[in-house]
């Protein structure tokens, strides 16, 4: 019983997500959030807790929607090489999609933030992504698709670096074809 909520919780969360994506955690103010979400501060605090927890929900939602292409690419190709190639190509697409802010929220939203919880949460997501690449490469080494001397850790760090660089380039205004060229050149690193 009681008065029903006048706004759509998921729609408002998506608006908040895009504010955090565009400006990062610290540079995004509660006033800016409420303006983007179309609600007043007490509604935000009643529905999401506080700014920090709203950010946590936004990160989770990002992983499940805009960022989900990465896990799909790594799981949906017969070889590590094809999986990473798809991962890089799709990153070029997503990072330059004009329908939302450029680059990757997980990579950029915690930069220059004071809150150690925010920094750690995003860094763990980035490390998890790097570890996923590494495991995909190791799988192909174990099955003989890649030579046994392949350094899976180095390849994972390299491709993670390239993806993080592509995100920075996208935020600097790089065009989609520029990032596709980066992806193509990065694929030459395979043994």
């Amino acid at each position: 019983m009681g008065r029903t909520r006048a706004f759509d919780r998921d729609v408002a969360l998506e608006r908040a997500l895009e504010e955090f994506w565009r400006q990062g955690y610290e540079a995004t103010s509660v006033a800016g959030l409420t303006a983007a979400m179309g609600i007043n501060p007490p509604s935000l605090y009643a529905a999401y807790g506080d700014k920090r927890r709203l950010f946590g929900e936004a990160v989770r939602r990002y992983q499940e929607t805009h960022g989900a292409f990465a896990a799909r690419a790594l799981a949906g190709e017969p070889t590590a090489r094809a999986a990473v190639g798809r991962l890089l190509r799709e990153a070029a697409e997503v990072y330059t999609d004009p329908a939302h802010p450029p680059g990757c929220m997980i990579i950029s939203a915690g930069v220059n933030t004071t809150d150690p919880g925010v920094i750690g949460e995003l860094r763990e997501h980035r490390e998890a992504g790097k570890a996923a690449i590494r495991r995909r490469v190791e799988r192909d080494v174990e099955t003989g698709l890649l030579p046994p001397e392949t350094d899976a850790g180095a390849l994972a760090t390299f491709f993670a670096s390239v993806i993080q660089g592509m995100s920075t380039q996208a935020r600097d205004g790089a065009a989609r074809e520029d990032l596709h060229a980066v992806a193509t050149l990065a694929m030459r690193a395979w043994p």
Copy 2:
């Protein structure tokens, strides 16, 4: 004539530089700056103007000291390939030097900043670095050291991406040898 300044302007500027380097422009407060510099706010404003102009001086100083290795690498090797190889290796060294904050100030200090002047100033430095790589590659294409079909712009964007990714990795705590491995793999992109 008048009272002489009680602090060393250059030493205090270096302290401010490291604050901006570690935390970025917006997350660095004037209170934090004055504490790091060992002075009071009126001394900061008398000596440097305001926070924005102090940041501009810090960026200029960074380019002339910690960041000068890049121009030296591009100018001091006989081939573009050797120059970029040295650039990547030295970036791995500098970005993980425990004597100062990790990563590159030009790449990270403007992320998630509201001030468009700060954003634009740092982006122009990044674009200038990318253009310098491109010109170095073009020079070797013109002299016949690289095949005429070489895409200098794509190579420049690729290596700029790798360097920006290395900076992010360093800020995430990557070891020096990890970044050296990234540099080695990136060098496989050459035609």
